[in-house]
Amino acid sequence: MKREPLVKLVNIQKSFGRVYALEQINLELYPGEIVSLVGDNGAGKSTLTKIISGTEKPDAGGQIFFDGVEVKGWNAAKARSHGIETVHQSRALSEQQSIFANVFLGRELTNKFGFVQRKKEVEETEKLMRRIGYTSKVWTPNSSVNKLSGGERQGVAISRAILFESRLVMLDEPTTAMALSEAGEVIDFIKDLKNQGKSVIFISHNPWDAHSVADRFVILDRGRIVFDGPKGDMTPEDFIAKLHNFAKNS
Protein backbone atom coordinates (compact mmCIF):
# COMPACT_ATOMS: atom_id res chain seq x y z
CA MET A 1 0.00 0.00 0.00
CA LYS A 2 1.34 3.41 -0.93
CA ARG A 3 2.09 5.57 2.10
CA GLU A 4 0.44 8.98 2.23
CA PRO A 5 2.92 11.77 3.06
CA LEU A 6 2.16 13.81 6.14
CA VAL A 7 3.49 16.97 4.49
CA LYS A 8 4.13 17.47 0.81
CA LEU A 9 5.78 20.54 -0.70
CA VAL A 10 5.39 21.15 -4.42
CA ASN A 11 7.46 23.76 -6.29
CA ILE A 12 8.10 25.87 -3.24
CA GLN A 13 10.16 28.99 -3.87
CA LYS A 14 11.22 31.81 -1.61
CA SER A 15 13.08 34.92 -2.64
CA PHE A 16 14.30 37.89 -0.66
CA GLY A 17 14.56 40.66 -3.21
CA ARG A 18 16.59 39.26 -6.09
CA VAL A 19 18.12 36.48 -4.02
CA TYR A 20 16.46 33.04 -4.11
CA ALA A 21 16.65 31.40 -0.69
CA LEU A 22 14.74 28.36 -1.99
CA GLU A 23 14.14 27.20 -5.57
CA GLN A 24 11.79 24.50 -6.85
CA ILE A 25 11.59 22.59 -3.59
CA ASN A 26 9.68 19.32 -3.87
CA LEU A 27 9.70 17.33 -0.68
CA GLU A 28 7.58 14.69 1.02
CA LEU A 29 7.70 13.90 4.73
CA TYR A 30 6.23 10.62 5.97
CA PRO A 31 4.82 9.71 9.40
CA GLY A 32 7.34 8.22 11.81
CA GLU A 33 10.34 9.26 9.73
CA ILE A 34 13.39 11.24 10.84
CA VAL A 35 14.78 13.43 8.08
CA SER A 36 18.16 15.06 8.60
CA LEU A 37 18.23 18.31 6.69
CA VAL A 38 21.81 19.36 6.07
CA GLY A 39 23.67 21.96 4.08
CA ASP A 40 26.07 24.86 4.42
CA ASN A 41 25.23 28.22 5.94
CA GLY A 42 22.80 29.98 3.62
CA ALA A 43 21.68 26.73 1.96
CA GLY A 44 18.07 27.49 2.92
CA LYS A 45 17.51 25.00 5.77
CA SER A 46 16.03 27.47 8.23
CA THR A 47 13.93 29.14 5.51
CA LEU A 48 12.48 25.76 4.58
CA THR A 49 11.54 24.96 8.18
CA LYS A 50 10.06 28.43 8.58
CA ILE A 51 7.85 27.83 5.56
CA ILE A 52 6.69 24.47 6.89
CA SER A 53 6.08 26.00 10.33
CA GLY A 54 4.12 28.88 8.79
CA THR A 55 6.34 31.72 10.04
CA GLU A 56 7.56 32.53 6.52
CA LYS A 57 5.31 32.71 3.47
CA PRO A 58 6.55 31.07 0.25
CA ASP A 59 6.38 32.95 -3.06
CA ALA A 60 3.24 32.50 -5.11
CA GLY A 61 3.00 29.35 -7.24
CA GLY A 62 4.01 26.67 -4.76
CA GLN A 63 1.68 24.29 -2.96
CA ILE A 64 1.69 22.82 0.54
CA PHE A 65 -0.30 19.66 1.24
CA PHE A 66 -1.04 18.31 4.70
CA ASP A 67 -2.52 14.80 4.94
CA GLY A 68 -3.08 14.95 1.18
CA VAL A 69 -5.14 18.15 1.34
CA GLU A 70 -3.78 21.43 0.00
CA VAL A 71 -3.65 24.07 2.70
CA LYS A 72 -4.25 27.74 1.93
CA GLY A 73 -3.32 30.77 3.99
CA TRP A 74 -0.70 28.74 5.86
CA ASN A 75 0.53 30.49 9.02
CA ALA A 76 2.11 29.59 12.33
CA ALA A 77 -1.19 29.21 14.17
CA LYS A 78 -2.58 26.89 11.45
CA ALA A 79 0.62 24.86 11.36
CA ARG A 80 0.49 24.36 15.12
CA SER A 81 -3.18 23.39 14.96
CA HIS A 82 -2.18 20.71 12.41
CA GLY A 83 0.35 19.31 14.87
CA ILE A 84 3.53 20.90 13.48
CA GLU A 85 5.83 22.02 16.28
CA THR A 86 9.15 23.76 15.79
CA VAL A 87 12.16 24.27 17.99
CA HIS A 88 13.62 27.33 16.30
CA GLN A 89 17.32 28.04 16.16
CA SER A 90 16.68 31.24 18.12
CA ARG A 91 14.59 29.13 20.57
CA ALA A 92 11.71 31.64 20.17
CA LEU A 93 11.41 32.32 23.89
CA SER A 94 10.12 35.46 25.52
CA GLU A 95 12.90 35.79 28.03
CA GLN A 96 11.23 38.17 30.44
CA GLN A 97 8.22 35.91 30.82
CA SER A 98 7.90 32.84 33.00
CA ILE A 99 8.69 29.31 31.89
CA PHE A 100 5.04 28.27 31.98
CA ALA A 101 3.96 31.34 29.96
CA ASN A 102 6.52 30.38 27.31
CA VAL A 103 5.48 26.74 27.26
CA PHE A 104 1.86 27.72 26.62
CA LEU A 105 2.61 30.75 24.45
CA GLY A 106 0.09 30.94 21.63
CA ARG A 107 -1.94 28.09 23.12
CA GLU A 108 -2.83 29.37 26.54
CA LEU A 109 -5.25 27.32 28.62
CA THR A 110 -8.05 29.81 29.16
CA ASN A 111 -11.60 29.99 30.39
CA LYS A 112 -14.32 31.09 27.99
CA PHE A 113 -13.48 34.78 28.62
CA GLY A 114 -9.85 34.32 27.62
CA PHE A 115 -8.44 34.46 31.16
CA VAL A 116 -5.51 32.12 31.63
CA GLN A 117 -5.93 29.10 33.90
CA ARG A 118 -2.63 29.79 35.55
CA LYS A 119 -2.69 26.99 38.13
CA LYS A 120 -3.37 24.40 35.46
CA GLU A 121 -0.59 25.74 33.23
CA VAL A 122 1.90 25.67 36.10
CA GLU A 123 0.96 22.07 37.00
CA GLU A 124 1.23 20.95 33.37
CA THR A 125 4.62 22.63 33.04
CA GLU A 126 5.89 20.91 36.17
CA LYS A 127 4.77 17.52 34.83
CA LEU A 128 6.32 18.23 31.45
CA MET A 129 9.68 19.21 32.91
CA ARG A 130 9.78 16.05 35.00
CA ARG A 131 8.88 14.01 31.90
CA ILE A 132 11.84 15.24 29.90
CA GLY A 133 14.18 15.00 32.86
CA TYR A 134 14.68 18.71 33.51
CA THR A 135 14.38 18.69 37.27
CA SER A 136 15.94 21.51 39.21
CA LYS A 137 15.59 23.16 42.59
CA VAL A 138 16.83 26.38 41.08
CA TRP A 139 13.77 27.32 39.09
CA THR A 140 10.06 26.72 39.15
CA PRO A 141 7.56 27.10 36.30
CA ASN A 142 7.10 30.68 37.55
CA SER A 143 10.77 31.58 37.05
CA SER A 144 11.68 33.95 34.25
CA VAL A 145 13.37 32.33 31.29
CA ASN A 146 16.23 34.86 31.51
CA LYS A 147 17.31 33.16 34.74
CA LEU A 148 18.03 29.86 32.94
CA SER A 149 21.22 28.56 31.38
CA GLY A 150 21.45 27.99 27.62
CA GLY A 151 20.76 24.27 27.95
CA GLU A 152 17.80 24.87 30.25
CA ARG A 153 16.34 27.37 27.79
CA GLN A 154 16.67 24.78 25.05
CA GLY A 155 14.87 22.38 27.40
CA VAL A 156 11.94 24.81 27.62
CA ALA A 157 11.84 25.20 23.83
CA ILE A 158 11.92 21.43 23.29
CA SER A 159 9.38 20.65 25.99
CA ARG A 160 7.00 23.11 24.37
CA ALA A 161 7.26 21.11 21.16
CA ILE A 162 6.08 17.90 22.81
CA LEU A 163 3.44 19.26 25.16
CA PHE A 164 0.71 19.20 22.57
CA GLU A 165 -0.17 16.27 20.37
CA SER A 166 2.36 16.98 17.65
CA ARG A 167 2.73 14.95 14.45
CA LEU A 168 5.79 16.64 13.02
CA VAL A 169 8.55 18.14 15.17
CA MET A 170 11.20 20.27 13.49
CA LEU A 171 14.38 21.01 15.40
CA ASP A 172 16.63 23.69 13.93
CA GLU A 173 20.15 23.31 15.32
CA PRO A 174 18.88 22.11 18.71
CA THR A 175 22.30 21.06 20.01
CA THR A 176 24.09 24.35 19.31
CA ALA A 177 25.95 25.67 22.36
CA MET A 178 25.08 22.55 24.34
CA ALA A 179 27.40 20.45 26.45
CA LEU A 180 28.06 16.96 25.06
CA SER A 181 25.86 15.31 27.69
CA GLU A 182 22.99 17.71 26.95
CA ALA A 183 23.37 17.14 23.19
CA GLY A 184 23.22 13.40 23.81
CA GLU A 185 19.94 13.85 25.67
CA VAL A 186 18.52 15.76 22.70
CA ILE A 187 19.55 12.98 20.30
CA ASP A 188 17.85 10.39 22.55
CA PHE A 189 14.80 12.61 22.71
CA ILE A 190 14.61 12.73 18.89
CA LYS A 191 14.80 8.94 18.67
CA ASP A 192 12.04 8.76 21.27
CA LEU A 193 9.83 10.98 19.12
CA LYS A 194 10.22 8.49 16.26
CA ASN A 195 9.23 5.66 18.58
CA GLN A 196 6.06 7.57 19.35
CA GLY A 197 5.28 7.62 15.60
CA LYS A 198 6.03 11.30 15.11
CA SER A 199 7.86 12.68 12.09
CA VAL A 200 10.99 14.70 12.73
CA ILE A 201 13.02 17.14 10.69
CA PHE A 202 16.42 17.54 12.27
CA ILE A 203 18.78 20.29 11.19
CA SER A 204 22.36 20.20 12.35
CA HIS A 205 25.79 21.36 11.31
CA ASN A 206 27.19 18.31 13.03
CA PRO A 207 27.25 15.49 10.44
CA TRP A 208 27.74 12.83 13.14
CA ASP A 209 24.55 13.92 14.91
CA ALA A 210 22.71 14.21 11.60
CA HIS A 211 23.79 10.70 10.63
CA SER A 212 23.07 9.08 13.98
CA VAL A 213 19.36 10.01 14.08
CA ALA A 214 18.39 9.98 10.39
CA ASP A 215 16.24 7.59 8.38
CA ARG A 216 16.71 9.80 5.37
CA PHE A 217 18.99 12.63 4.30
CA VAL A 218 17.99 15.76 2.46
CA ILE A 219 20.95 17.90 1.41
CA LEU A 220 20.33 21.51 0.45
CA ASP A 221 22.78 23.61 -1.52
CA ARG A 222 22.08 27.27 -2.30
CA GLY A 223 18.34 26.87 -2.06
CA ARG A 224 18.04 23.61 -4.03
CA ILE A 225 17.67 20.01 -2.93
CA VAL A 226 20.76 18.27 -4.32
CA PHE A 227 20.28 14.94 -2.58
CA ASP A 228 17.24 13.21 -1.11
CA GLY A 229 17.69 9.56 -0.18
CA PRO A 230 17.48 6.99 2.60
CA LYS A 231 20.33 6.39 5.01
CA GLY A 232 20.36 2.68 4.15
CA ASP A 233 23.85 1.30 4.62
CA MET A 234 25.54 4.67 4.36
CA THR A 235 28.21 4.97 7.02
CA PRO A 236 28.98 8.31 8.72
CA GLU A 237 32.18 8.46 6.67
CA ASP A 238 30.25 7.95 3.41
CA PHE A 239 27.81 10.63 4.46
CA ILE A 240 30.54 13.13 5.32
CA ALA A 241 32.32 12.33 2.02
CA LYS A 242 29.04 13.02 0.19
CA LEU A 243 28.68 16.37 1.97
CA HIS A 244 32.27 17.33 1.11
CA ASN A 245 31.65 16.34 -2.47
CA PHE A 246 28.62 18.64 -2.77
CA ALA A 247 30.48 21.46 -1.03
CA LYS A 248 33.43 21.09 -3.42
CA ASN A 249 31.28 21.08 -6.56
CA SER A 250 28.95 23.88 -5.54
Binding site: T55, A92, T140
Partner: protein, 331 residues
Protein backbone atom coordinates in the same frame (compact mmCIF):
# COMPACT_ATOMS: atom_id res chain seq x y z
CA UNK B 1 27.46 29.93 38.69
CA UNK B 2 27.13 26.56 40.40
CA UNK B 3 23.73 25.03 41.04
CA UNK B 4 24.16 25.50 44.81
CA UNK B 5 25.13 29.13 44.34
CA UNK B 6 22.12 29.74 42.11
CA UNK B 7 19.82 28.08 44.64
CA UNK B 8 21.28 30.34 47.36
CA UNK B 9 20.71 33.37 45.14
CA UNK B 10 17.13 32.37 44.55
CA UNK B 11 16.45 31.87 48.25
CA UNK B 12 17.99 35.18 49.31
CA UNK B 13 16.59 37.53 46.70
CA UNK B 14 12.76 37.77 46.79
CA UNK B 15 12.96 35.83 43.55
CA UNK B 16 9.23 35.18 43.34
CA UNK B 17 8.43 38.80 44.11
CA UNK B 18 10.27 40.11 41.05
CA UNK B 19 7.10 41.32 39.36
CA UNK B 20 6.20 43.37 42.44
CA UNK B 21 9.51 45.20 42.70
CA UNK B 22 8.53 48.22 40.56
CA UNK B 23 5.24 48.56 42.46
CA UNK B 24 7.00 48.44 45.83
CA UNK B 25 9.65 50.87 44.51
CA UNK B 26 7.00 53.33 43.29
CA UNK B 27 5.12 53.02 46.62
CA UNK B 28 8.27 53.75 48.63
CA UNK B 29 8.98 56.74 46.42
CA UNK B 30 5.42 58.02 46.88
CA UNK B 31 5.68 57.60 50.66
CA UNK B 32 8.95 59.57 50.75
CA UNK B 33 7.35 62.35 48.70
CA UNK B 34 4.28 62.42 50.96
CA UNK B 35 6.40 62.64 54.09
CA UNK B 36 8.43 65.46 52.50
CA UNK B 37 5.27 67.43 51.67
CA UNK B 38 3.87 66.86 55.17
CA UNK B 39 7.18 68.04 56.61
CA UNK B 40 6.98 71.28 54.59
CA UNK B 41 3.31 72.07 55.21
CA UNK B 42 1.73 69.78 57.83
CA UNK B 43 -1.35 72.01 58.20
CA UNK B 44 -2.17 71.46 54.50
CA UNK B 45 -1.25 67.82 54.02
CA UNK B 46 -2.71 66.46 57.24
CA UNK B 47 -6.21 67.71 56.40
CA UNK B 48 -8.72 66.19 53.99
CA UNK B 49 -9.18 69.12 51.59
CA UNK B 50 -6.03 68.56 49.58
CA UNK B 51 -6.90 64.91 49.07
CA UNK B 52 -10.38 65.76 47.75
CA UNK B 53 -8.71 67.97 45.13
CA UNK B 54 -6.33 65.15 44.22
CA UNK B 55 -9.18 62.64 43.94
CA UNK B 56 -10.96 64.90 41.46
CA UNK B 57 -8.17 64.84 38.88
CA UNK B 58 -6.35 61.58 39.67
CA UNK B 59 -8.81 59.37 37.69
CA UNK B 60 -8.33 61.47 34.53
CA UNK B 61 -4.60 60.80 34.46
CA UNK B 62 -4.86 57.24 35.70
CA UNK B 63 -7.45 55.95 33.22
CA UNK B 64 -5.52 57.10 30.16
CA UNK B 65 -2.22 56.10 31.82
CA UNK B 66 -3.45 52.52 32.30
CA UNK B 67 -3.82 52.11 28.56
CA UNK B 68 -0.39 53.65 28.00
CA UNK B 69 1.10 50.83 30.09
CA UNK B 70 -0.28 48.27 27.62
CA UNK B 71 1.11 50.04 24.57
CA UNK B 72 4.50 50.65 26.24
CA UNK B 73 4.79 47.05 27.37
CA UNK B 74 3.98 45.98 23.79
CA UNK B 75 7.12 47.83 22.70
CA UNK B 76 5.43 50.91 21.24
CA UNK B 77 4.53 54.40 22.41
CA UNK B 78 1.45 56.55 21.83
CA UNK B 79 1.85 60.33 21.97
CA UNK B 80 -1.47 61.07 20.26
CA UNK B 81 -3.75 60.54 23.26
CA UNK B 82 -4.03 64.26 24.19
CA UNK B 83 -5.54 64.96 20.76
CA UNK B 84 -7.70 61.85 20.96
CA UNK B 85 -9.07 63.25 24.23
CA UNK B 86 -9.81 66.55 22.47
CA UNK B 87 -11.39 64.98 19.38
CA UNK B 88 -13.48 62.37 21.18
CA UNK B 89 -14.50 65.08 23.67
CA UNK B 90 -15.64 67.18 20.74
CA UNK B 91 -17.65 64.27 19.32
CA UNK B 92 -19.25 63.71 22.73
CA UNK B 93 -20.18 67.40 23.05
CA UNK B 94 -21.34 67.80 19.46
CA UNK B 95 -23.51 64.68 19.69
CA UNK B 96 -25.02 65.90 22.97
CA UNK B 97 -25.98 69.14 21.24
CA UNK B 98 -27.42 67.38 18.21
CA UNK B 99 -29.45 64.85 20.20
CA UNK B 100 -30.93 67.08 22.91
CA UNK B 101 -28.40 65.84 25.44
CA UNK B 102 -28.71 62.12 24.73
CA UNK B 103 -25.84 60.96 26.94
CA UNK B 104 -25.61 57.45 25.52
CA UNK B 105 -25.40 58.68 21.93
CA UNK B 106 -22.64 61.10 22.99
CA UNK B 107 -20.76 58.39 24.84
CA UNK B 108 -21.01 56.09 21.83
CA UNK B 109 -19.74 58.83 19.51
CA UNK B 110 -16.76 59.48 21.82
CA UNK B 111 -15.91 55.78 22.07
CA UNK B 112 -16.18 55.22 18.31
CA UNK B 113 -13.88 58.20 17.74
CA UNK B 114 -11.37 56.81 20.20
CA UNK B 115 -11.49 53.37 18.58
CA UNK B 116 -11.01 54.88 15.11
CA UNK B 117 -8.00 56.94 16.26
CA UNK B 118 -6.49 53.77 17.74
CA UNK B 119 -7.14 51.78 14.58
CA UNK B 120 -5.45 54.46 12.44
CA UNK B 121 -2.40 54.46 14.73
CA UNK B 122 -2.35 50.67 14.72
CA UNK B 123 -2.60 50.51 10.94
CA UNK B 124 0.21 53.03 10.42
CA UNK B 125 2.51 51.30 12.89
CA UNK B 126 1.83 47.61 12.27
CA UNK B 127 0.80 47.48 8.61
CA UNK B 128 2.98 50.26 7.20
CA UNK B 129 5.81 49.64 9.64
CA UNK B 130 6.17 53.27 10.74
CA UNK B 131 7.80 54.26 14.01
CA UNK B 132 5.13 54.63 16.69
CA UNK B 133 7.00 57.55 18.28
CA UNK B 134 6.95 59.65 15.12
CA UNK B 135 3.60 58.40 13.82
CA UNK B 136 1.68 59.18 16.99
CA UNK B 137 3.49 62.51 17.37
CA UNK B 138 2.30 63.37 13.87
CA UNK B 139 -1.19 62.08 14.68
CA UNK B 140 -1.22 64.27 17.79
CA UNK B 141 -0.72 67.36 15.61
CA UNK B 142 -3.11 66.13 12.91
CA UNK B 143 -5.95 65.30 15.32
CA UNK B 144 -5.74 68.52 17.30
CA UNK B 145 -5.63 70.40 14.00
CA UNK B 146 -8.74 68.55 12.84
CA UNK B 147 -10.47 69.25 16.15
CA UNK B 148 -9.70 72.96 15.94
CA UNK B 149 -10.89 73.14 12.34
CA UNK B 150 -14.27 71.59 13.09
CA UNK B 151 -14.75 73.17 16.52
CA UNK B 152 -13.69 76.68 15.41
CA UNK B 153 -12.56 77.63 18.90
CA UNK B 154 -16.03 77.27 20.40
CA UNK B 155 -16.49 76.61 24.10
CA UNK B 156 -19.50 74.34 24.66
CA UNK B 157 -21.34 74.55 27.99
CA UNK B 158 -23.42 71.72 29.44
CA UNK B 159 -24.70 73.19 32.67
CA UNK B 160 -28.07 71.53 31.90
CA UNK B 161 -26.42 68.25 32.83
CA UNK B 162 -25.65 69.45 36.37
CA UNK B 163 -27.44 67.45 39.04
CA UNK B 164 -28.66 64.88 36.52
CA UNK B 165 -28.46 61.23 37.47
CA UNK B 166 -25.85 60.38 34.84
CA UNK B 167 -23.56 63.23 35.81
CA UNK B 168 -23.79 62.19 39.46
CA UNK B 169 -23.14 58.61 38.44
CA UNK B 170 -19.89 59.53 36.72
CA UNK B 171 -18.58 62.56 38.60
CA UNK B 172 -20.83 62.94 41.65
CA UNK B 173 -19.78 61.96 45.15
CA UNK B 174 -20.16 58.84 47.23
CA UNK B 175 -19.60 60.07 50.78
CA UNK B 176 -16.74 62.49 50.40
CA UNK B 177 -15.08 60.57 47.58
CA UNK B 178 -15.70 61.61 43.95
CA UNK B 179 -17.49 58.91 41.90
CA UNK B 180 -14.79 58.94 39.26
CA UNK B 181 -12.42 57.43 41.82
CA UNK B 182 -14.63 54.33 41.87
CA UNK B 183 -14.75 54.23 38.07
CA UNK B 184 -10.97 54.52 38.06
CA UNK B 185 -10.64 51.68 40.57
CA UNK B 186 -12.99 49.48 38.53
CA UNK B 187 -11.16 50.15 35.27
CA UNK B 188 -7.77 49.61 36.97
CA UNK B 189 -8.92 46.26 38.41
CA UNK B 190 -10.33 45.13 35.06
CA UNK B 191 -7.27 46.21 33.08
CA UNK B 192 -4.98 44.80 35.78
CA UNK B 193 -6.68 41.41 35.44
CA UNK B 194 -6.39 41.58 31.66
CA UNK B 195 -2.78 42.73 31.82
CA UNK B 196 -1.62 39.93 34.11
CA UNK B 197 -4.08 37.09 33.58
CA UNK B 198 -5.69 37.41 30.17
CA UNK B 199 -4.32 35.96 26.94
CA UNK B 200 -4.24 39.48 25.46
CA UNK B 201 -2.13 40.82 28.34
CA UNK B 202 0.37 37.98 27.95
CA UNK B 203 0.60 38.63 24.23
CA UNK B 204 1.26 42.34 24.93
CA UNK B 205 4.23 41.36 27.10
CA UNK B 206 5.57 39.04 24.39
CA UNK B 207 5.04 41.67 21.67
CA UNK B 208 7.38 44.00 23.55
CA UNK B 209 9.86 41.40 24.72
CA UNK B 210 10.39 39.16 21.69
CA UNK B 211 7.82 39.63 18.90
CA UNK B 212 9.56 37.04 16.72
CA UNK B 213 9.03 34.41 19.41
CA UNK B 214 5.37 35.33 19.52
CA UNK B 215 5.00 35.11 15.75
CA UNK B 216 6.75 31.74 15.71
CA UNK B 217 4.22 30.47 18.24
CA UNK B 218 1.27 31.72 16.23
CA UNK B 219 0.58 34.93 18.17
CA UNK B 220 -0.75 37.72 15.96
CA UNK B 221 1.65 40.42 17.16
CA UNK B 222 0.33 43.07 14.76
CA UNK B 223 -3.24 42.55 15.95
CA UNK B 224 -2.09 42.68 19.57
CA UNK B 225 -0.31 46.00 19.04
CA UNK B 226 -3.26 47.45 17.15
CA UNK B 227 -5.57 46.50 20.03
CA UNK B 228 -3.20 48.33 22.40
CA UNK B 229 -3.61 51.51 20.35
CA UNK B 230 -7.38 50.98 20.30
CA UNK B 231 -7.32 50.63 24.10
CA UNK B 232 -5.53 54.00 24.33
CA UNK B 233 -8.28 55.47 22.13
CA UNK B 234 -11.03 54.02 24.34
CA UNK B 235 -9.43 55.20 27.59
CA UNK B 236 -8.79 58.64 26.08
CA UNK B 237 -12.46 58.98 25.17
CA UNK B 238 -13.55 57.88 28.68
CA UNK B 239 -11.18 60.48 30.12
CA UNK B 240 -12.68 63.10 27.81
CA UNK B 241 -16.24 62.27 28.85
CA UNK B 242 -15.41 62.36 32.58
CA UNK B 243 -13.53 65.64 32.15
CA UNK B 244 -16.43 67.28 30.27
CA UNK B 245 -18.96 66.08 32.84
CA UNK B 246 -16.72 67.31 35.65
CA UNK B 247 -16.30 70.79 34.20
CA UNK B 248 -19.70 70.95 32.40
CA UNK B 249 -17.71 72.47 29.56
CA UNK B 250 -15.94 71.40 26.38
CA UNK B 251 -13.01 73.33 24.98
CA UNK B 252 -10.71 71.99 22.27
CA UNK B 253 -7.55 72.50 24.33
CA UNK B 254 -8.81 70.09 26.99
CA UNK B 255 -6.23 67.45 26.03
CA UNK B 256 -3.29 69.76 26.61
CA UNK B 257 -1.52 69.17 29.85
CA UNK B 258 -1.94 65.40 29.79
CA UNK B 259 1.02 64.36 27.67
CA UNK B 260 3.99 64.76 29.99
CA UNK B 261 2.25 64.00 33.32
CA UNK B 262 0.73 60.77 31.98
CA UNK B 263 4.02 59.61 30.43
CA UNK B 264 5.73 60.53 33.70
CA UNK B 265 3.15 58.43 35.59
CA UNK B 266 3.94 55.41 33.39
CA UNK B 267 7.69 55.64 33.92
CA UNK B 268 7.57 56.71 37.58
CA UNK B 269 5.28 53.72 38.10
CA UNK B 270 8.07 51.39 37.03
CA UNK B 271 7.18 50.51 33.42
CA UNK B 272 10.38 50.77 31.38
CA UNK B 273 10.40 52.14 27.83
CA UNK B 274 12.10 49.00 26.60
CA UNK B 275 8.90 46.91 26.48
CA UNK B 276 8.12 43.42 27.73
CA UNK B 277 7.63 44.49 31.33
CA UNK B 278 5.25 46.79 33.13
CA UNK B 279 2.94 47.22 36.04
CA UNK B 280 -0.63 48.37 36.45
CA UNK B 281 -0.33 48.85 40.23
CA UNK B 282 2.81 50.92 39.67
CA UNK B 283 0.98 53.13 37.17
CA UNK B 284 -1.74 53.95 39.72
CA UNK B 285 0.94 54.92 42.27
CA UNK B 286 2.88 56.80 39.57
CA UNK B 287 -0.23 58.77 38.59
CA UNK B 288 -0.90 59.54 42.26
CA UNK B 289 2.68 60.81 42.57
CA UNK B 290 2.33 63.06 39.54
CA UNK B 291 -1.06 64.46 40.53
CA UNK B 292 0.17 64.96 44.08
CA UNK B 293 3.03 67.10 42.81
CA UNK B 294 0.70 69.15 40.59
CA UNK B 295 -1.68 69.83 43.43
CA UNK B 296 0.77 69.66 46.30
CA UNK B 297 3.28 72.19 45.03
CA UNK B 298 0.63 74.90 44.89
CA UNK B 299 -1.01 73.78 48.12
CA UNK B 300 2.36 73.94 49.87
CA UNK B 301 2.47 77.65 49.09
CA UNK B 302 4.92 77.52 46.19
CA UNK B 303 3.94 79.08 42.89
CA UNK B 304 3.07 76.93 39.85
CA UNK B 305 6.52 77.41 38.32
CA UNK B 306 7.85 74.88 40.80
CA UNK B 307 5.62 72.14 39.36
CA UNK B 308 7.83 71.40 36.36
CA UNK B 309 10.92 71.34 38.55
CA UNK B 310 9.09 68.90 40.80
CA UNK B 311 8.17 66.67 37.85
CA UNK B 312 11.73 66.63 36.58
CA UNK B 313 13.17 65.72 39.95
CA UNK B 314 10.56 63.04 40.52
CA UNK B 315 11.14 61.38 37.15
CA UNK B 316 14.92 61.31 37.45
CA UNK B 317 14.94 60.29 41.12
CA UNK B 318 12.31 57.58 40.58
CA UNK B 319 14.24 56.08 37.68
CA UNK B 320 17.36 56.02 39.85
CA UNK B 321 15.26 54.51 42.63
CA UNK B 322 13.89 51.76 40.41
CA UNK B 323 17.37 50.90 39.20
CA UNK B 324 18.84 50.87 42.68
CA UNK B 325 15.90 48.95 44.15
CA UNK B 326 15.85 46.25 41.50
CA UNK B 327 19.62 45.98 41.34
CA UNK B 328 19.99 45.67 45.09
CA UNK B 329 17.51 42.87 45.28
CA UNK B 330 19.11 40.86 42.53
CA UNK B 331 22.65 41.07 43.87
Amino acid sequence: MSTEAREQTVKSSFYLQERLRPVVGAAIFFAIMLVTFIGFAPDVFLTGGIYTAIFLSLPLFTIVGLSLVFVTVAGEIDLSFPSTIALSGFMFSWTLEQTSLNFYAGLLAALVTGVLCGLINGFLVTKLGLSSLITTLGMNFALIGLTNVINQGEVRMFTELNETFLRNLFVGKIGSIPSQMFWMAGIALLLGAIFHRHRFGIHCHVAGDNPEAGRAMGVDIERTKTLCFVLVGICSSITAVISILLNSTYFSTMGEGYLLPVLAAVFVGGTPVTGGRGTIGGLVIGAATVVFIQTGVVAAGLDGYWTSLGFGLVIVLSLLGHRWFSGRLTR
